[in-house]
Symmetry: C2
Subunit: 251 residues, 2 copies
């Protein structure tokens, strides 16, 4: 006798009401106490049901304020392929342009940061060697959609015009173009995507729910000499972005 648990029944009920446009996106739901009394269940049952729908991206909880019907935001398509690298402009600008959005970013660069163990391993340098670290917050139409922290060995660019990724004449041109400017040819990138849950800080920066799913990409650019020239940790929230890899098959 598969009797459905109360909280799933309430979840279905809430889903039904949203589907029937009883509440529109952006609307605030009645309080848990109200819904509970109306449906004849305890308020925790309502809470469980709402948590389920929140995890599915259908509802959105705001502490102290209420539970809201989530806006069906169109996801940004982020293309990750060789075609992404253009002789001019940044890869992110190209992504945003392709979906008709305005692409901007905020960045903060710290020069001469000692490399932590994992970064050192990825860059093929020694732990504690100096790096230039730049943290990014990428925005689509002014709203954050992607986080990133980029690391470059300080020795590689020291004394050149491209020491600072977001400064000088090649500011914001992307790693490939900047390296090209100092005579380094970037031949390939390796990306390692991993699913995980957003930290509270990430969720806050991205404006997503706390446990929401993200793809954490560890990307490393290599020169034609086979040496790593840059590595980055990129955090892409599933609710805001879709990731697309294009792979040529040429035989």
């Amino acid at each position: 006798m598969p009797e459905q648990p109360p909280y799933l029944r309430i979840a279905d009920e809430l889903r039904r009401r949203i589907m029937e446009h009883m509440w529109e996106p952006g609307d605030r739901l009645p309080s848990r106490t109200q819904i509970g009394q109306e449906c004849g269940v305890g308020e925790n049952v309502v809470r469980r049901a709402q948590e389920l729908l929140i995890s599915q991206g259908m509802l959105e909880g705001r502490a102290g304020s209420g539970t809201y019907v989530a806006e069906p935001r169109q996801r940004v398509r982020i293309v990750r392929s060789s075609a992404r690298e253009q002789p001019e402009g940044s890869p992110f600008h190209a992504d945003m342009k392709a979906v008709g959005r305005q692409g901007d970013w905020e960045s903060r660069t710290d020069a001469k940061i000692p490399a932590p163990p994992e970064i050192a391993a990825r860059l093929g340098i020694s732990e504690g060697d100096l790096c230039v670290r730049t943290t990014y917050e990428f925005l689509a139409d002014g709203r954050p959609v992607q986080l990133s922290a980029s690391w470059e060995p300080y020795d590689l660019t020291a004394g050149t015009l491209v020491v600072l990724p977001e400064g000088g004449p090649h500011a914001g041109a992307g790693v490939v173009n900047r390296m090209a400017a100092i005579g380094i040819t970037v031949s390939h990138a390796v990306e390692q995507p991993e699913p995980r849950q957003a930290t509270t800080e990430e969720a806050s920066l991205l404006g997503t729910q706390k446990g929401s799913l993200v793809t954490h990409i560890r990307r490393t650019y290599y020169s034609d000499q086979g040496h790593p020239v840059e590595t980055a940790d990129i955090v892409i929230p599933a609710s805001l972005c879709e990731i697309v890899y294009e792979i040529p098959i040429g035989r």
Copy 2:
């Protein structure tokens, strides 16, 4: 004064004991009642702590049996790039060979299945058009590490030797090689990785924990004519595999 909640204290305690080899991988922990009494907390506090460590892949809960220290299984590296496609052999074999593991798979093909809406859209055919569907369970050293469901338009291969992906002279050779055998050149693939939690069925098939994280890749192969020739849903558990995309940058 940020006072640490009891369940986090217990989690740290359990972590510490594991680090100090008080319990070895594969060992069963004492029951929650026992741990609770020993540490002076309720057993639900122990449960919370264990859930946390389980979600981090450090512990493993087996219903009716006990909670165990997870075996530190080496993850399989799955490379997704053009280099993966070889004139002979399957891409999966190449992956496994590269990490020194034996690669096998079990498959089941159903011919003439009507295409569900999403598959039809991805293949550029009409809903209900007939397809050949093959579901796979990929094994590394005999243990499942990856699930996949592949769809091909029936019209494309009907009457040829490669109708059945896992039958005939080109069995298991991969989509690119099979299509080449009937004169179709596959020019590129598009992969869309998305993070989500494993369903109960997937977790059971893969031998992972229930809510564990997976990367669900929607992959579509396109011919040089620009038409989709195959699409697949690939489920890769984060605890067992690491995914690597290699992207050439050539200017």
